[in-house]
Symmetry: C2
Subunit: 227 residues, 2 copies
DNA sequence: GCAAAAGTGTTACCGGTACACCCATGT
DNA sequence: ACATGGGTGTACCGGTAACACTTTTGC
């Protein structure tokens, strides 16, 4: 409702924090930055930023991503609002977590290094400030859910990729091993990927066909279980 | 990160809006309130409220629910943050939607009537203010997802209920018809409900056994599809 | 007896899983 | 020729869907 007398109610600092995923060295990785002030100096954190007066949460997240990895037009999704009154020690801040998917070979490495950003595998995260670990956990769950409803990879793999790479990406996302044969059959049954005439011979003598997503690929509706 | 110089950044009004679901007359219903000021006077809205200085979003939603239906300890879940700068015409407000499930026969009807609240079937919603329709859509999707991962109903059905009632609840939530025989088999295979010796004879001559949830029922982990 | 809702049984099919096997090729 | 990763085939199992059937009881 939010009806009368707005002035009676407190205004609050609102921020966004970005869980930036990439896929590199057969691992799902998250971009982290070292906190450079006390308290918790040296602990790691997600990149974030405050929401401006005329900015939506999504706008703010896009701005942070642009400033962080130098990319616009990247996949991004709101995850959850974190709002415990004391979640930051110095000031009341409500923060909304987002996650983003970026191709490992497309982002601006200089920009990341300039701010001392480092990529950590999700299987081996360092100590994080505040509730940032919860944010990553929630973001990963969302990513897993998305990956279980549709074939992802367009935003994480190179433009051309082998089915083995796709398989390994899914292994990394779900932290388990999908059977090679069954995985390939599943992909084939989806009929979304396009096989190119090219082969990748870097990892095998036989060479593996490279595939691409169709340009107009839109994910089908989420097909969750029935009951 | 949200690091230095908080004072440079704007503070913003933050609100919560509650999508309150109930199950009544074989329909999933949402509680709505008429807006009593211009603009959009007479249009319907969700019940909401601003977030206090020392309150989490969840605390604020619980407070609104208490004030609205007179119940505490009800199931409730954060859905999504809505933040377009112009989503409310008069003032910048970021609002986080929640959904809640309440038993139709347990809430405080006088309190609802006092504020002119009315229950609308999700299949027949009136015109709503701002982005409240989006909020309901998003909340319903969350509810469907929850219902597809675990057996819900404890918060929507009476304490004792028949399998037909449960079946109809699922029909209402998913807006489709689940086969009677298959639904019962599925429920049985879950082995969570407890059959009581009592029968409900109000809707059939034969009478249908009443079931209850076990007191310590906790939903199993979400079993989404594999790939 | 009949209508109406509760409850059971039957069968076909599809998709997942496990795992064995074949293929192409550089060394 | 053989090791290596790419790629295919098969057999089984369980869950789902469709639908026919039986049971109970009030009228």
């Amino acid at each position: 409702m939010t009806q009368p007398a707005y002035v009676e109610y407190p205004k609050i600092h609102v921020a966004v924090d970005c869980v930036i995923f990439t896929y590199d060295e057969e691992q799902l990785k998250v971009l982290l930055y070292p906190r450079n002030i006390e308290p918790r100096k040296g602990d790691w954190s997600l990149m974030g930023g405050f929401v401006g007066d005329r900015e939506s949460l999504e706008d703010a997240a896009r701005r942070v991503l642009q400033q962080t990895v130098g990319l616009s037009n990247i996949f991004m999704e709101q995850v959850h609002g974190f709002s415990k009154p004391n979640r930051e020690p110095d000031e009341r801040v409500i923060s909304v977590a987002f996650y983003a998917l970026i191709c490992n070979d497309k982002h601006n490495r200089e920009l990341v290094e300039e701010h001392k950003g480092e990529w950590y595998s999700i299987t081996n995260l360092p100590t994080l400030i505040f509730d940032h670990h919860e944010m990553i956990t929630a973001a990963l769950q969302r990513l897993q859910h998305k990956a279980s409803c549709e074939l992802i990879g367009r935003d994480l793999l190179p433009e051309k990729f082998t089915l083995t790479q796709m398989n390994n990406l899914y292994n990394a996302i779900f932290q388990r091993t999908f059977d090679q044969g069954n995985f390939r059959k599943k992909i084939a049954s989806l009929k979304v990927l396009i096989q190119t005439p090219y082969k990748d011979t870097s990892t095998s003598k036989k060479g593996a066909y490279l595939y691409v997503f169709p340009h107009n690929y839109v994910a089908p509706d989420c097909r969750i279980v029935k009951i």
